[in-house]
């Protein structure tokens, strides 16, 4: 490779008129002008690379920022919050000196192009985020959405995504304790691959992404840097370089979970010896992001010798090295006298580590290439002063017609036989069917702390072996509800995740989210986004669960057609003693089944309307967050005081879906009686929110119903755990075997 002209800062100063490919790098004219204004000259190629990637939608949140601010502005007062939005991940206090960090991110687009690697590197990225906070990752979750279950492309995408999540997560030794699998034609050309991770640390071990202390060394460690994920910058490279090496830069990143496992253990040992002053994972925008964020969170000054970065591909240009998204890398700031020990630990774990620079007195991020300065910027201007858009938004014209297309007008089953048939059809439908074929490809036992995992309402892991302290997490999102009403849809997602955590016996503490939407340039989509964020922020305020962080994924659409607005909400809860957890299984014959909450005729966006009528219209179920809170308190008290042996939240598919799952899980049947004032159809299929079904030992019946009565929560006895079938008295019965076949055969039938 012969360098034609290295575009140094000096060179840029002397060639103000040089044409620059800002457009090809996705910058707008005014954005380019602003960069010139910030620098007082034209940017160098390397600077242009950094600004363009850091000011992209993905990294700068330029379309979503103005809406996300509500999460801070409306944040409920919470004693639990230790680190809020803005860091790699938020941190909450879970008691006994422990802190928990958790976050959900998307890897949607890469997973459509290369399902295995796209999903795998999605897991890798979120795990490094959690690690960078100082925490040991203890569990992962994976909310997934695919196109129609029977579409041929789903057969390509889903097995690849699942194998990728399993292949990466299993190899890291992180139990997969939850997630979702949803099928809908709207995700056909744009699957949603979200991944979440939970990490645990002691309060004093919280680490922040911050480069302070002039003289401290900046160490890049982990994998070598290759040309991954820098397609766009080759434009730049070809402008300033005459390349004789491989010109091709891979469009997809390939992950190495083994390398990541070493990175985790190595980093934890480094934390254990308190060797780092600041740390940042490398994810999107690679070194551009890590250096500018570390520097701007500190006093600002940093000097980096870019040619010291260990490379996998010697032909990479400095611009490319700055933008490379090679996986399994971290960046640490280390005091000089601790560098030797830092290096020793890296060597122990076979991890390559290199001092690439140091923190300086000034307030500029300066990057050098073989002694010549190629970057000289105020780091904050790269990391945080990106553009902010106030994109226009407007309620779509079709919204009224959609809401007017009321699901309650749909023909309902007229006979007991028809009801029975529709129950079977519902529990066998891809969205309601057992996902064991998928979740059995994930290790849920590793680390030996898994208390609850799929198909329980929430995943739960023990975090202290002595005290039995544990944390629980559930993720939920219902794009159908959100399409009908994004404000309510976001709140319903929140309510469902909250309910799931409470049903497991844990107290909901905090929220992370992954907001998956279409193009922000479409005012209709932007309205959906605005409504959903407003709904979520209002909902979190009401429930007292602050949003600690999250992720926005926009441009999820095929051509002009956007996906359903899909806010995915993760709720984290804490439980003082995991032996008090409540499983979903109905296991004891004779236990009484109680339905908590109110059941109304609510079918808009329901599973029934989809499965039986392929219909989406009307309004989603009404939201009552005070009721959710009360229900949660009752479920938690009942679990703590041993009043219930099983609980299952009611959501899509309604009561019959929940009872089926609990019966199949426990291997016991149930006799159900339709309560006064309800018709059988509504009783079985309604999706009214704020409900759960619980199994109460007879000895606890009075105590439990008294508690509900005293607290004002509607409680209705609906049957008993009994026999080998689910019987709806006076109507029909279905043997557990038949239900099991219907429920469990669907997914393998489609995919195996």
């Amino acid at each position: 490779m012969t360098i034609k002209t290295l575009d140094t800062v000096k060179h840029a100063g002397g060639t103000p008129e040089a044409e620059q490919p800002w457009k090809d790098l996705g910058l707008k004219e005014d954005e380019y002008a602003r960069i010139r204004e910030i620098l007082g000259r034209r940017p160098t190629g390397a600077e242009l690379a950094m600004y363009s990637v850091m000011w992209s939608e993905h990294c700068s949140y330029k379309s979503s920022k103005v809406h996300l601010r509500q999460f801070g502005e409306k944040a409920p007062a919470s004693d639990a919050m230790l680190v809020g939005i803005g860091e790699n991940a938020g941190v909450v206090d879970v008691g006994q000196g422990y802190a928990v960090t958790f976050k959900v991110e998307s890897h949607n687009h890469p997973s459509y192009i290369e399902p295995y690697q796209g999903a795998a590197t999605g897991v890798g990225g979120i795990v490094r985020d959690i690690l960078a906070m100082g925490a040991r990752p203890v569990a992962v979750v994976d909310p997934l959405r695919f196109g129609a279950a029977d579409h041929p492309d789903t057969k390509r995408v889903l097995p690849g995504v699942v194998a990728g999540i399993g292949g990466y997560g299993n190899c890291l030794g992180l139990p997969n304790i939850g997630g979702e699998v949803v099928f809908d034609a709207c995700y056909q050309g744009n699957p949603l691959v979200n991944a979440g991770c939970i990490g645990v640390m002691r309060h004093e071990d919280i680490h922040l992404a911050k480069a302070s202390g002039p003289g401290n060394k900046v160490i890049l460690y982990g994998a070598r840097t290759g040309g991954d994920g820098i397609g766009g910058v080759s434009v730049l490279a070809s402008e300033t370089f005459e390349s004789t090496g491989p010109a091709k830069r891979p469009a997809v990143q390939v992950g190495d979970p083994f390398q990541e496992k070493l990175l985790i253990e190595c980093t934890l040992e480094i934390f254990g010896e308190k060797l780092v002053a600041g740390i940042q994972d490398l994810g999107g925008a690679g070194l551009s992001c890590a250096t500018s964020e570390l520097a701007s969170a500190g006093s600002g000054g940093m000097r980096v010798e870019l040619d010291t970065v260990p490379l996998r591909d010697a032909t990479l240009s400095p611009e490319e090295i700055l933008m490379s998204e090679s996986q399994e890398r971290m960046c640490a700031v280390v005091e000089p006298d601790k560098v030797a020990r830092f290096m020793e630990i890296c060597e122990k774990w076979d991890v390559i580590a290199t001092v690439i620079g140091e923190v300086t007195e000034g307030d500029r991020l300066e990057i050098f290439w073989h002694g010549e300065q190629i970057v000289d910027v105020p780091p904050r201007s790269v990391a945080h002063d990106g553009p902010v858009y106030h994109r226009p938004y407007a309620r779509p014209e079709w919204q009224d017609a959609l809401q007017a297309d009321d699901a309650s007008k749909l023909p309902r089953p007229a006979t007991a036989a028809e009801l029975r048939e529709q129950v079977l059809k519902l529990v066998a439908s891809p969205n309601q069917a057992s996902k064991a074929w998928i979740t059995d490809q994930y290790d849920r036992f590793v680390q030996g702390n898994t208390v609850l995992a799929q198909p329980e309402d929430a995943g739960m892991v023990r975090i202290d072996e002595e005290s039995n302290l544990g944390v629980a997490m559930a993720t939920d999102g219902n794009g159908r509800y959100a399409k009908l009403d994004p404000y309510a849809g976001a709140q319903l997602a929140l309510a469902e995740a909250y309910r799931n955590v409470a049903a497991s016996g844990a107290k909901p503490l905090a929220v992370s989210d992954c907001l998956n939407f279409g193009s922000p340039e479409d005012p209709g989509v932007m309205w959906q986004f605005a409504e959903a964020t407003r709904g979520l922020a209002d909902g979190c305020l009401r429930l007292g669960t602050p949003v600690t962080g999250g992720n926005v994924s926009l441009y999820n659409q095929t051509g002009e057609t956007a996906i359903h607005p899909t806010p995915v909400v993760a709720v984290l809860g804490v439980i003082d003693d995991v032996s008090r957890r409540t499983p979903i299984a109905f296991e004891e014959e004779g236990q009484l089944l109680y339905l908590l909450g109110d059941t109304r005729e609510e079918f808009g966006g329901s599973a029934w309307s989809q499965v039986v009528h392929n219909h989406l219209g009307g309004l989603p179920p009404a939201v009552d967050l005070d009721r959710e809170k009360l229900l949660g308190e009752i479920l938690i008290s009942a679990s703590r005081d041993g009043m219930i042996d099983a609980a299952h939240d009611l959501s899509d598919g309604g009561l019959i879906q929940a009872v089926t799952e609990s019966c199949l899980r426990g291997g016991k049947g149930a006799r159900l009686v339709v309560p006064d004032g309800l018709d059988t159809f509504t009783f079985l299929f309604s999706e009214s929110a704020g409900r759960a079904v619980v199994a109460v030992p007879r000895s606890e019946e009075l105590r439990f119903t008294d508690m509900c009565g005293a607290r004002g929560l509607p409680v209705t006895r609906i049957g008993v755990v009994d026999g080998e079938e689910i019987e709806v008295q006076g109507e029909f019965g279905i043997a557990l075997g038949e239900l099991r076949t219907a429920h469990e055969a669907t997914i393998p039938g489609l995919l195996a």
Binding site: A223, D228, P250
Partner: protein, 82 residues
Amino acid sequence: MARVVVDVMLKPEILDPQGQAVQRALPRLGFDGIADVRQGKRFELEVAEPVDAAALARIHEMAETFLANTVIEDFIVKVEEA
């Protein structure tokens, strides 16, 4: 019966963690002088009909659309003497 072999290798610019792991292990086992290791897949296809140009073209298509993931992999098709 003829044998057609399809060799599928990761593209050179794509990270090959398997090959790297093998390479790193070699010196420890006392094997030096190996500068690089790449690990790929080898498919041996037993073809019932004679492998004429048309058959080869079909196998090529099969390799391109199915045996290899051309987003990250290259392949070559070779007819082996029976």
